[in-house]
Structure formats: C-alpha cells, structure tokens
C-alpha cells in the first residue's frame, strides 16, 4: 500500500512571496503519477499540477512548479508570486500505474496555506 505524508499542517506567507509545500510518499511501485490538488473554502477540489514518475523533468504550470526527487520519494510544490486566491488546503496525491484493478488516488492529510495581504 502507498502512503503520502504532508508534514506541514499549516503555512502562512505574505502576498507575492514564494512558498514551498512538502510531500513525501512511500511506494514499491516504479511507475506512478503524482498530483497536487487545491481545495479552497468552497470545497471544490481543483487540479494544480501533475507529474509522471518516468519523466525526469519537473512539471510547471504558470506560477506553480514541482521539485520531484524520485530516489528520495519527495514531491514538493513551489508557488511563486503568491496571491490571495492561493489560500486553500493543498493535497498531495499518488496514483500507481495499475494494469488490473484500481486503488484510486491516495491523498496526504493536506497543508492549509494562508496568503496574508
């Protein structure tokens, strides 16, 4: 079974600052996918970024980028030029590349990110 650990329950930064959220995972799989989802107070879970484990290049989406360290089983999210609208719960999630059967996404407990004006 896979586990995902987010060691920062809450973080607070000033608007326009850069912030990094940590995520580590444990798996015996070699092929898998990693995701960051954002859940604002409205509760809608929104995809932020996705990374395929077989790709060495770190994924980027505008102000969001990841630092994927496969050997260390680490997958951190960097948010540059943070905005008030970035305030939300951020969840790191793991999905294995299954052939038969499905385990769905395995989520961490989340990091509550607060952007201060």
């Amino acid at each position: 079974a896979q586990t995902v650990t987010q060691s920062q329950p809450e973080m607070s930064v000033q608007e326009a600052e850069t912030v990094t959220l940590s995520c580590t995972y444990d798996t015996s799989e070699n092929n898998y996918y990693l995701f960051w989802y954002k859940q604002p107070p409205s509760r809608q879970m929104i995809l932020v970024i996705r990374q395929e484990a077989y790709k060495q290049q770190n994924a980027t989406e505008n102000r969001f980028s990841v630092n994927f360290q496969k050997a260390a089983k680490s997958f951190s999210l960097k948010i540059s030029d943070s905005q008030l609208g970035d305030t939300a719960m951020y969840f790191c999630a793991f999905m294995k590349h299954e052939g038969i059967g499905a385990d769905g996404l395995t989520f961490g407990k989340g990091t509550h990110l607060i952007i201060q004006p």
């Binding site: 989802y37 929104i46 769905g104 996404l105």
Partner: protein
Amino acid sequence: DAGVTQSPTHLIKTRGQHVTLRCSPISGHKSVSWYQQVLGQGPQFIFQYYEKEERGRGNFPDRFSARQFPNYSSELNVNALLLGDSALYLCASSLEAGEGYTQYFGPGTRLTVL
C-alpha cells in the same frame, strides 16, 4: 463544458437510514471514482467504475455500494448509516481508468448523519 456535477449538495439523515448520492461525469469521460472526505482529512478512495464495471474498491464496509449507468453517470449508496459516515462525498471523473489519467472532481455532497 460542464464539469463534474453531484447531487444533492447537502443531505441530512438519521442513523440506520439509507442514502443515494448521484454524480454526472464530464462529457466524454468513461470512468467515475468516489471518495469520502472526513473533516480535516484528505479524501479516501471508495470505488472506481469504468464502463459500468467496478474496477477498484477501497477499504470500506459492504454497506457502501455503487453502480455506473450506460450514460456513465454513477450512484453511491450507503445503507444502515452510522454517525461516522458524516463526511463530504466527492465524485471524480477521468477519460479512462488507471494509467494515470487525471481525475477531475465535482463539488461534493455534504452528508450529515444525526
């Protein structure tokens, strides 16, 4: 394009009752997954359905069941409700099942069991 839709938005039930939650996937998506999110926790996987067949099941009791219809919409049923079933139930759809296809989430159904 419409995203994943879920109904109802909120639901209040009493212990022992039965509940049915509904989900319509993004147009063109063939797979639907269900998750339970207890307050303060990350979502936990309940079921995945693809082409009307159950493809995966999480560690939930048999009181939880689901099905997928020919139009790819899905229902989650929970029997003999317990207080601990109070949670946000999230539905997610993806183009296909497995192999890392990204799951897109609906707004959820907030279930309160009294």
